[in-house]
Structure formats: structure tokens, C-alpha cells
């Protein structure tokens, strides 16, 4: 079973590096699909808890790489991270008290939104501008979603930093990865206190992602992301449908 969980981490790491979308979007549904095959059923909240360590691994591997390339705006990151950390704590607390059906429904909506974003491509602004006053609440919302769903929050943070704070897109992606590491620490502390964090499975996912993220970076140069995007979008839509069916049918 542990090798299967490492495999899930590897897949999340590789897809994250190639498509910019990995972490919780892969880990949470995959854990729920694969672990029951080994006689180890897992609730969505437990999967979200493990995914927080996956997000932390993405943050660690990503930040190490982006720092080498000088893309992390650490000052912006530290100024915005208190909002995501507090939002994350709120989201994690909600994750502990909300019914699984509600969490699954929000997660399915996120999967559909991610598929839409992948197919549409990222909207981007190339000109630097003064940060909007909407940035702090938007980052807080990204934190809530990361705590509730076990995602990194890049889907929200990158457009917010790029479109509302005027951070160029490459730096926005790097800085979002940096922030998600800090946010995931707080989220993991909450889930661990709630007794939902399985350290063994979390270590396996973390190891897979650390290796997968490195491998994905070199694969990204050789693989055409176009077809992969289409395939992964369809997979996300299918997974969202399955999740809704499981909790509502």
C-alpha cells in the first residue's frame, strides 16, 4: 500500500511540474480511490489532512527550484502569507466540522473550475501595477480553500497576485508556491491536532512529491503539455462527477 501512496505522490509531483496543477487536486481523489483497494478506506477529511503534507512538499521542492532562478518575491510572500495562514486555519477548522458531503461538493466544484482553467489557459497581466485593496481578502479566501480542501491554493493565488497585485506571472507562480509552504504548515498543525493526520501515509505522499516534482521539471521540457492538459481536464471532470455521485447518489 505504501508504494501505491508513493506512486500517487510521484504522479502529483510530475503533473504539478508539467501542468502547474498537482498537489491536492491529484492527491485527495487518488487516495480515496486507491486506498480502499488495499482494504484501507479513507474519509475525504483524512485525505485532505494528508494532502496538506503533499502541498508542503510541493512548496519545499518548488521554492528550492524557484529561489535558484531568482523568481520568488519573498517580500511580497511574507506580506501576504499572514492572510493565507489565518484563512488556512479557518478552512482547516471548517474541514474538521463540516459534513464530508459538503467538503466533497466544494472539492468537486474546484475540480471543475481547475479543468476549465486548464482548457481555457491562464489569464495574465504583463504590466506591474499598484496592489488592489482586494488582495488581502482574496488571499484569505485562497487560504480558506487550501485549509478546507488540501490544495495549494495556486489556482486562486496566482491570478490574485498577477491581476490584482501586478506581480508578473512567472514570479506570481513562484511566490504562490513559496506562500503555500507556509500556509500548509499551519493547516497541517490543525489537522494533526484533530487527530486526522496519518504520518505514515503523509510521509509516503511527501516523498513521492519531492521526487516527482524534480523529475517533472526535466520531463516538462520534453513533453507536449497540450494533449496532457486535455486528458487531465477530462480526468478532473470525471473525478468531480464520481465524487458527486459517491456523496449524493
Amino acid at each position: 500500500m505504501i508504494f501505491a501512496v508513493i506512486g500517487i505522490g510521484l504522479l502529483a509531483g510530475v503533473l504539478g511540474a508539467i501542468l502547474g496543477l498537482g498537489g491536492g487536486v491529484v492527491v485527495v481523489p487518488a487516495l480515496q480511490a486507491v486506498l480502499p483497494l488495499f482494504g484501507h478506506p479513507i474519509s475525504i477529511t483524512q485525505a485532505v489532512a494528508i494532502s496538506q503534507i503533499g502541498v508542503l512538499a510541493v512548496g519545499l521542492a518548488g521554492t528550492a527550484g524557484y529561489l535558484r532562478r531568482g523568481l520568488v518575491r519573498a517580500r511580497t510572500g511574507y506580506l501576504l502569507s499572514p492572510y493565507t495562514i489565518i484563512g488556512g486555519a479557518l478552512g482547516s477548522y471548517l474541514g474538521l466540522i463540516l459534513p464530508a458531503r459538503v467538503v466533497a461538493t466544494v472539492f468537486a466544484a474546484l475540480l471543475l473550475y481547475s479543468a476549465y482553467n486548464l482548457l481555457r489557459g491562464l489569464r495574465r497581466a504583463e504590466q506591474e501595477r499598484e496592489p488592489s485593496r482586494l488582495v488581502p481578502p482574496a488571499m484569505g479566501f485562497a487560504g480558506v480553500m487550501s485549509g478546507l480542501l488540501g490544495i495549494g491554493g495556486g489556482t486562486i493565488q496566482v491570478p490574485v497576485m498577477n491581476l490584482l497585485a501586478g506581480v508578473p506571472i512567472r514570479e506570481a507562480i513562484a511566490t504562490s508556491t513559496f506562500i503555500m509552504g507556509l500556509t500548509a504548515v499551519g493547516n497541517a498543525l490543525i489537522y494533526s491536532a484533530g487527530g486526522l493526520l496519518d504520518f505514515r501515509l503523509a510521509a509516503a505522499v511527501g516523498l513521492g512529491i519531492l521526487v516527482g516534482a524534480r523529475a517533472g521539471t526535466s520531463l516538462a521540457a520534453r513533453i507536449s503539455a497540450g494533449n496532457l492538459k486535455l486528458l487531465f481536464s477530462l480526468l478532473l471532470i470525471l473525478t468531480a462527477g464520481q465524487m458527486l455521485w459517491k456523496y449524493w447518489a
Binding site: R68, F199, A202
Partner: protein, 90 residues
Amino acid sequence: MSDNNPAGEGAGLPNWLFGGGYFVALAALAVGLVWPQLDRYAVYWMMLVPVLGALYVAAANWKSDRRLSVAALLALAGLALVLGGRELVK
């Protein structure tokens, strides 16, 4: 730092901390999977790396860039708040 990253935006965050933290985490997680009683410490190490980064930036910039230093401390204060608040969850 890259040329398109405005001065001071890198905040002096050291490459070696995250680069080294990555490889230590890799080894620690592998060890944690072989000896399960150590798995939680490997996870704790991963959690420690961003915290050490914030501490380093807060200390290194205290005299030269107080605003940045305070921002890093605020991020740490957020985590401290979560650490204190998690007692409510237990």
C-alpha cells in the same frame, strides 16, 4: 537573483536553506518509511524548513529592512496563533 526581480524582493532568503532542506527531507522521509516510528519527525522537519526561512529573514533584515523583518515575523505570528489555537481543536 534574477534581473527582473526588483531589488529587495528576494528578501535575502537563502537558496541553501530550501535546497538543503529539500535533500534532508528526502532522506528523512525515506528513513521514516523504513522505520515508521520516525515518520512523524520527517514530517516535522518539512514543516520546520519554511519556519526557519522566516526566522532567518526576520533576523537578517532586522536592521536594514525593518518592514520586511516585521512581515516575516507576522507570518511566524500567524503560525504561532495557529499553534495556540489548535489546542481548541484537541
